[in-house]
């Protein structure tokens, strides 16, 4: 299955791109996707714990199972206002 992974702010700078289609095994969880991404991008691996994640524009728990076509984002610490 495929998901579209979005990068914002400091994560976009670290990844060097703003979005990426990723091929994943069925049943992949959000936390597993983050682990894979953190292995590829060392600057993200320095993050102490998994950052909050959104699937299809809503916050989800780390154990959320991904589906084909999902829009996924790992969100750096928000700083609006």
């Amino acid at each position: 299955m495929r998901v579209n992974l979005l990068y914002f702010a400091s994560f976009r700078d670290a990844a060097g791109l703003s979005e990426q289609v990723r091929e994943l095994p069925e049943g992949t969880r959000v936390s597993q996707l983050w682990e894979a991404v953190a292995r590829e991008i060392p600057r993200l691996a320095s993050f102490p714990t998994m950052p909050p994640a959104a699937v299809n524009r809503e916050y989800v728990e780390a154990d959320r199972t991904l589906c084909d076509g999902d829009e996924v984002a790992s969100l750096p610490p928000v700083a609006g206002g």
Binding site: A9, R57, P76, V78, G80, G81
Partner: protein, 136 residues
């Protein structure tokens, strides 16, 4: 409830106030000239647009459920803002001031905690960095 790249028209925000509202509380977030001792000349706001919009709507809905007499509007700016420009506006209107103040305070606090918006601060020497509120 939205995100805009244009300057926030503060006066227009007050047009929706109902005739039953006796208290209107307006909070404005403004770009400040320093942060943690470092001078700031501008801030670049970046948003996960569609999610920022839905989160702001969720915050407003949630606050209106907790303060049923209050009506809440939230606007956030995106893009590059200079010192003194309004980055966020929250209006809470209610029959009495207590609910208006409380709803306004709750709304801005929740916006800052959950809405996916980020800011990059620019300094006079041209350097810039993303603000991480968890590290201050």
């Amino acid at each position: 409830m939205h995100l805009t790249f244009n300057p926030i028209d503060v006066a227009a925000l007050l047009n929706d106030v109902r005739t039953s509202d006796g208290g209107v509380c307006l909070f404005l977030g403004v770009v400040r000239n320093e942060n943690e001792g470092l001078p700031t000349v501008a801030i670049q706001y970046e948003a996960y647009g569609p999610m920022a919009e839905s989160e702001m709507a969720r915050v407003a809905r949630q606050v209106e459920e907790e303060w049923p007499d209050a009506r809440v509007r939230i606007l956030h700016r995106a893009g590059r803002l200079e010192v003194g420009e309004v980055s966020v506006a929250v209006v809470a209107a209610a029959p009495h001031r207590r609910e208006a103040f409380e709803a306004c305070r709750a709304a801005i606090d929740r916006v800052k905690a959950t809405v996916p918006i980020w800011k990059k601060e620019f300094h006079p020497d041209g350097s810039a960095e993303w603000v991480d509120p968890t590290k201050s």
